[in-house]
């Protein structure tokens, strides 16, 4: 790769310096010059002045269809989802469109930064969608489709109306309505801004030492190994600013220049766990499966270990699932169909179960491991939460009889008689393990129980625990998703109340890094 880049780079320099192609043979043994066609295929950038923008057009309506087929899985139907990536849309106002400055960027209490809040140039959106999206098949959208998808995104942000047709002719007009168009700063030295007197010199210098050089660079400060994981594994967390996912702090940092034998790219690569790379893992990486699935933990999709545990040996089933995609088995987030990249379905599913078998180090947490005491405690906790909502007199009465106290849990549950909430596997709550941003925590509550009258979503440690209550009719499935604020880390409960007044619940612990209630 490095070589390729170097060749291309060298050619670019020649071209820009006015050298002719024929001179390239002066560098024997480093390949051949790229043909103009190859350079054209590589040179796809679109600049803020729209240089490089292909002609074409696309409507919001077409964009919506493409969006829902290819983009919504990760970004949400309205571009608002924070379940996989940062939200794309939101946080901008009509006032921002007038001023060209996004007011919420200056608010410290405003949670998160969406793409549309930050991006100053519409060309950047076009370029990025064109070169990098969709995640599983980048560069597969035709120019008209890129226009359409961008038009849909802009309509969601109220930059263009819902019947707009975006084209190379009117994109400059759209630029004049970008919410953060005046928010770009060039007041730093890598830019030719004021501070650097409009020169293009970088603000760092790297002069090679030729004489009396320091034999070894001494590190002046470092993070001790024991502190590396002080804030939990950063790779598991969504962050408000900067990179979405941090470094994997469960493992020691790979040290520059320490890789045995050296790598041709000059960049140290973390040591692989085993020396022989499993061909299945190579295949998984090649097809970008690892973007959504990890070996031992849920990312967007389930972990390979969990899949192995559930479907060991069911090769045909898994092959079918990979090819056609699906949703609902592991949660609401769908997996897109993968027909485009996997010509033969065999290698991947065959390799998949093997991946899990190689790593028996994962400890599964199971609710069946709970002691009776814990079960009772949760039941009493749910009862107390239900009582606090004031909607269920039977729990209030029961709770007045027996206070929520470890010693009297048995009595409390007894006092509630048949109406004591019961933890049930038929009730499901979905949500993140760690929510970096407590202002917007996605939850799903569902149950397969019959005769359900109501479904409640409760966050135990919120100032008032009841977030939402859904009154179910026979015309809807008992499966709801919404987003909640969380003031702090807490147990979250989905409670299903049946027609005869019985309560069944599921519990999930959610850790919150930044609370979403106060200010």
């Amino acid at each position: 790769m490095y070589r390729c880049h170097k060749v291309i780079l060298t050619i670019c320099l020649w071209l820009s310096a006015g050298f002719c192609f024929a001179q390239s043979h002066a560098y024997l043994g480093i390949g051949r010059p790229a043909t103009p066609k190859e350079v054209a295929a590589w040179d796809i950038d679109v600049r803020p002045d729209f240089k490089g923008l292909p002609a074409g057009s696309g409507s919001v309506a077409l964009g919506q269809d493409i969006w829902e087929a290819k983009c919504a899985q990760c970004h949400g139907v309205f571009g608002e989802s924070n379940e996989v990536f940062s939200p794309l849309i939101g946080g901008t106002t009509n006032e921002d469109i007038k001023t060209g400055h996004v007011a919420n960027l200056t608010r410290r209490d405003f949670p998160g930064r969406t793409t549309i809040m930050k991006v100053a140039t519409v060309s950047t959106l076009w370029d990025y969608i064109n070169r990098a999206m969709p995640w599983t098949t980048p560069k597969s959208l035709k120019p008209d489709e890129v226009y359409a998808v961008l038009a849909y995104m802009l309509s969601l942000a109220n930059v263009v109306p819902d019947d707009y047709v975006l084209s190379d002719k009117n994109i400059a007009e759209v630029q004049k309505r970008m919410p953060n168009r005046n928010g770009m700063s060039t007041q730093h030295n890598l830019w030719a801004g004021k501070e650097s007197s409009y020169t293009n010199k970088p603000d760092t210098a790297n002069v090679a030492c030729m004489k009396d050089c320091v034999p070894e660079i001494k590190v002046a400060s470092m993070l001790p190994d024991y502190a590396r994981n002080a804030h939990g594994n950063l790779a598991d967390q969504n962050r408000l600013v900067g990179q979405q996912k941090g470094a994997d702090t469960l493992h020691a940092e790979s040290k520059l220049g320490m890789s045995a034998g050296g790598t041709s790219s000059g960049v140290a690569i973390a040591k692989p766990v085993s020396k022989v790379i499993d061909p299945a893992i190579a295949l998984l990486s090649k097809h970008n499966c690892t973007a959504c699935h990890a070996q031992d933990r849920k990312i967007v999709g389930p972990s390979f270990n969990d899949i192995t545990k559930k479907y060991s040996g069911k090769v045909d089933y898994l092959a079918g699932k990979i090819k056609s995609g699906g949703s609902g088995v592991w949660g609401a987030i769908p997996m897109p169909a993968q027909t485009h990249q996997i010509q033969t379905s065999k290698p991947l599913p065959v390799g998949l179960p093997a991946v899990g078998q190689n790593n028996p180090r994962i400890i599964y947490r199971s609710t069946s491991m709970q002691t009776r005491r814990e079960t009772l405690k949760h039941s009493a906790a749910v009862a107390s939460l239900l009582a606090a909502t004031g909607l269920f007199p039977q729990y209030v009465q029961a709770f007045e009889k027996a206070a929520f106290d470890a010693k009297t849990i048995n009595e409390a549950v007894k006092a509630m008689g048949g109406s004591a909430p019961v933890e049930s596997k038929e009730v499901t709550i979905t949500g993140p393990d760690i929510a970096e941003n407590g202002a917007v925590v996605p939850f799903g509550a569902s149950t397969s129980l019959p005769n359900v009258k109501r479904v409640l979503l409760l966050v135990e440690k919120n100032p008032s625990a009841l977030v939402a209550m859904f009154n179910v009719s026979p015309d809807v499935e008992v499966n709801f998703a919404t987003r909640s604020k969380m003031g702090q880390s807490s147990d979250v409960y989905a409670v299903a109340i049946t027609n005869d007044g019985k309560a069944f619940f599921a519990k999930k612990e959610v850790k919150v890094t930044l609370g979403g209630c106060g200010g």
């Binding site: 309205f78 939402a468 709801f480 987003r483 909640s484 604020k485």
Partner: protein, 103 residues
């Protein structure tokens, strides 16, 4: 008057998945303003969903539902062309109704 909701209803088989994005401040009642005074809670209280005019779901919400609330649910027996209506009402009495066609 509040901004319109965005509603998408997509039929698959004999049911339709409905996703709604409402535009509402959803003030929690926990925050304080610059002078230390508590900003009063202002949130959507009631949500009603209809299919061709018939109520299929009602929900009661507290101030803990996130700003610009998102709601997803599934209507049984809905097919392309059916009308899905959503109405919300907040604790100040403000209300808004929007409609979408199942696609």
């Amino acid at each position: 008057m509040a901004d319109p909701m965005r509603i998408r209803a997509q039929a698959a088989g004999d049911k339709a998945t409905v996703r709604v994005l409402m535009s509402h401040e959803m003030e929690s009642g926990q925050r304080k303003d610059g002078t230390g005074k508590i900003i009063p809670a202002w949130h959507i209280q009631d949500v009603t969903a209809t299919l061709n005019g018939k109520t299929v779901l009602t929900a009661e919400w507290g101030p803990a539902v996130s700003k610009n609330p998102f709601l997803q649910f599934t209507i049984k027996g809905a097919k392309a062309g059916d009308k899905v209506g959503i109405t919300w009402k907040d604790n100040k009495g403000d209300t808004r109704t929007d409609e979408a066609t199942v696609s």
